[in-house]
Symmetry: C2
Subunit: 118 residues, 2 copies
């Protein structure tokens, strides 16, 4: 049965608002990089993402959110620094908790994969 253990299930958690993607793993990665770098521009560079793409992602998060997630400071070379609101930090923690729960659930699902699959 050795090579059957090569099979496993996985699933990515996505938080929707109505039919629109509100928060996915991509959003979380970018939000955490923005916390680290304090700038969308630097965060985008570090993730090898265009500034436009990063800006678009974050702008949509803010638009879909009932409470602002990203707070931009005006002025400066980068159009000002950037940080997360307290709600933004809460949102990351909340998503990651649920993601961890899902990972544990999938791990259980994968435990009996050899006996069920074939």
């Amino acid at each position: 049965m050795g090579h059957y253990s090569a099979f496993h299930y996985n699933a990515k958690l996505t938080l929707y608002r109505e039919d629109e993607v509100f928060v996915s793993d991509v959003h979380i990665k970018l939000l955490k990089q923005v916390i680290k770098d304090g700038s969308i521009n630097v965060a985008a560079k570090n993730l090898k993402m265009s500034y436009q793409h990063a800006w678009h992602i974050l702008d949509k998060v803010n638009k879909l959110s009932p409470i602002p997630v990203i707070i931009r400071q005006k002025g400066g070379r980068d159009g000002g620094g950037c940080n997360l609101s307290p709600f933004g930090f809460k949102l990351i923690a909340y998503y990651e908790t649920k993601e961890k729960e899902l990972t544990d659930y999938l791990e259980q699902m994968n435990q009996d994969i050899e006996s069920c699959f074939f």
Copy 2:
């Protein structure tokens, strides 16, 4: 709290072999259409997918599978008809069972979303 109920989690189940996608919702949709139509060509048309794309998906499934999933009959206009092996049918049933389990799990996750989220 009315508009907060607009938020919900979702996740798509994917079965991997090592790092490669073996079966996803897209694969299942195509496999079921092939059962219906008995032809990759017709199935691809009905799903508004190119024949090349459909063929590539199914070829990869067969290559990753320890047991053939798709069985092609030679000859004829369409390069011959096409059907699933008994293992192919089992694979669909197995994926859909796990997918239903995941849906139920996510439904539970979404039940307390209002109280946890804000």
